[in-house]
Symmetry: C2
Subunit: 158 residues, 2 copies
Amino acid sequence: MNSAELLPIGELANRAGLAPSALRYYESAGLIASTRTGGGQRRYERGVLRRLAFIRAAQNVGLSLEEIRSALSTLPAQRSPTRADWARLSRSWRARLDEQITGLTQLRDGLTSCIGCGCLSLQRCALSNPNDAVAALGPGARFLPSVLRRTTGVRPDM
Amino acid sequence: MNSAELLPIGELANRAGLAPSALRYYESAGLIASTRTGGGQRRYERGVLRRLAFIRAAQNVGLSLEEIRSALSTLPAQRSPTRADWARLSRSWRARLDEQITGLTQLRDGLTSCIGCGCLSLQRCALSNPNDAVAALGPGARFLPSVLRRTTGVRPDM
DNA sequence: CCTTGACATGAAGTTCACTTTAACTTGCAT
DNA sequence: ATGCAAGTTAAAGTGAACTTCATGTCAAGG
């Protein structure tokens, strides 16, 4: 019953809307697993599709792949995950999203009060110093994930 | 009156809460300017502090340095910018923040309705497919900026 | 005058989440 | 049997926004 119908990587990539290279990368990062054919090619069970949906959803919430890997590792290894399992995993996202929304809202309200004054003081302005969290996070880029980026027409009309 | 009191890079870095290397980087990216001493060391006018506050605020709103550079280039070159100038620059952020907040709120509401079902369908789930915008943005990382990241205690209790 | 800490430069490294490239192998249809 | 799309690997590249490093110079106090 749960035999056959294993997907090759290109097929899975199409269905998931990802590049094959992304799937190989996810596997190397311990996010998904595959069986191999005699010749060494990857074959995926259909359950992987749900896993990929979870990964995408988690990314949209703002989790890093490492955090997602860690979350996925709490799934039962033996039986295949139930709806309840997936629901449990995604439950904590709500708080995270609430936090993000709150932060942005504060920023916006700070902006509203700042627009009139144009103060932009490094110390006092709510805009340049939102949560007094100005600390560095080490090297590397920090920018917005796809959900938050405007992709539709970059207008330079500031 | 507007003479003297030029800040060396370390001083400016302290006051702005940035590393000297960041300031040099900003200068190389055309975001800030400096005069030089006879020996070639950078000296900054105090107005640069306001500029840095603007840069930080813009980053918090989600603008890239290139977008910020472009915005700053619309400031008057001759006279020093007035409050009105700064206010004009930051006015368009409100719409951007509104967009971001809306997007996140939709995601959260989608989550709320998904939590019970645990469906996580790649095609239908609002979580894994928020705005039907699943398209790739090319290579490179896409993750949350500091404002949106939890820095306080990583709890792996999903 | 001399020491010492701050500064300068260019090149390379870092992070994350992937993609691209190069060189080679599988697997399915004809 | 063969042709060719699709698969494999390791290594290097990408992008943003910086940092780190190596090597050498400046400036201010003693």
